[in-house]
Amino acid sequence: MPVFRYKNSEIYYDLFGNEGDPALTLVNGLSMRTSHWAPYFKMLPQKGVRVLSYDMLGQGHSSKPILGVDFDDHAIMLKALHDHLGIEQPYVMGISFGGVVVLRYAIMFPDALKGLLPISTFSELDPVLTCHAANLYISMARVGFEFYLDLLMPLNFTNEWLSKNRDLLAIVKRVGSSGNEIYGIQNLMESLASFSTITPDLAKITVPTLILNGEYDALTPRHLHDIIRTNTPNSRMLVLPRMSHAFTLEIPELCARIFAEFIAQVGNGTWQGDQTVWIANEDANAPEIAYQCPGDHLRYVPQTSQEPTTQVKRTTWVRRSTRTAKSARKTVKAG
């Protein structure tokens, strides 16, 4: 694995694909490493996309400074890595914590990018996310790293994935706790303690921006992505049906296709940053990758009409309460 020396630190990275193809940088979430992107190292080059992945400071094989590094430092380091590799006008995709890093990147270096993919992320902390962040921090610092990973599992993955991988979970946890240094992750988490909203700066992002959000993402739900969409002029939002926070790990085929098609659209000038909301097709091989969201996209289930789609036995509150009252009177008499 190659290393980029930045000041006193070492940043490990992987670069796959053909020189000359458009380059997409994948920026990790909080406790991820480059190896989490392994499926994309094959799929994206096959679709004509060069792919760069790296461990942020504090993660995986990269240096883990004990004193603080903030979101802007990560964005500056990523820019330095691109410059070092001679990658001009890359696309950058960041998930969760990495999503904030790429938003900062696009704000700080608006002319350096060709396109932006913020995923499962936020530009400001709402009370629920603040509580989640505090819980995760306390679990890691006071209980232990494995419990931190336990807390993350149901926030990150769907029922389907957890059922399918039940036997692997203990191993996943061992790999996670072996591969991470607790103080490295702690340092990253502490960036959140001093985080103040970047929403007002989103207007500075001028590049095509495709925002991705899992339908059932309980950690960074829809409304946080909607804030990014409504404040980023050249954007669209794409909702991934039935997916949770870490859907890039669950459905790499569909995600790779979405990334590649976004890059193709921007490249050939067909991208439309009209701030509309779309829903991805669940079949990665479907002819159309997405359809426009027909209803209220801030609901879990956007509805096309007010009529229920399942058969229900209709009744009324009045009749039901009458029955309940009669039944209650009988019970009293019997008593």
Partner: protein
């Protein structure tokens, strides 16, 4: 991460995944960790004898007694070697541990907010963060043995205890620039890294020689 470091770690991983830890290996690991924890406990024991604000006292007190408790737990869980050369080699490494860390420098006088205490905190941070055996084991290996479960307990506890050092290293009101702080932290890390790699190197060599 220099090449010799990667080479030694790779060799240790290869060695540790092949079989259960022998009494020789367990003894070497145990004596090294006991040496490290004894240094920490000895330095921290001074918090019992001096006035101090409650919050730092509480954390340092807890850490001191945890270090003693874990030393005992590890000793009880170890299948001890009957080879005197193993104990000789362990003693030599522990002598280097005292010499190279300059641990005695942190044992005199009162604990106070100065460069000396900052250096100790950085050393203690390195003890807790650099010395990790479990990441060298294959994730397929069950930790359900007395020795490995004790190691797991220790490394989990190290993760919790390290919070005290991190907070103080970051927030302590001390007249050191960021660069000075980073240099202190890095130099202490390198010392502990060298000692830990020597342990791994010797364990591997011991096995090869046997």
């Amino acid at each position: 991460m220099s090449d010799p470091s990667i080479e030694i770690r790779t060799r240790a991983m290869e060695f540790l995944k092949q079989q259960e830890l022998s009494p020789d290996t367990q003894t070497r690991i145990c004596l090294f960790l006991q040496g490290v924890k004894s240094i920490n406990a000895t330095i921290l024991s001074r918090v019992e004898f001096q006035p101090m604000d409650w919050v730092p006292y509480k954390f340092l007190h807890s850490q001191c007694y945890k270090e003693v408790e874990l030393t005992t737990l590890l000793g009880k869980s170890t299948t001890w070697s009957s080879n005197p050369l193993i104990f000789l080699a362990a003693t030599q490494l522990n002598l280097s541990l005292w010499q190279e860390t300059g641990a005695a420098r942190y044992m005199g006088g009162m604990l106070k907010v100065d460069r000396n205490f900052y250096e100790y905190l950085a050393l203690s941070h390195a003890f807790l963060s650099v010395i990790r055996i479990l990441p060298l084991l294959s994730v397929q290996i069950s930790l359900d043995t007395p020795f490995l479960s004790a190691l797991k307990e220790i490394e989990e506890e190290n993760g919790r205890q390290i919070q005290t050092q991190i907070r103080l290293l970051k927030d302590m009101a001390i007249e050191l620039s960021l660069d000075e702080k980073e240099n202190i932290i890095e130099s202490q890390r390198q010392i502990v890294e060298r000692l830990f790699l020597r342990l791994l190197d010797e364990i591997t060599e011991t096995r090869v020689a046997a």
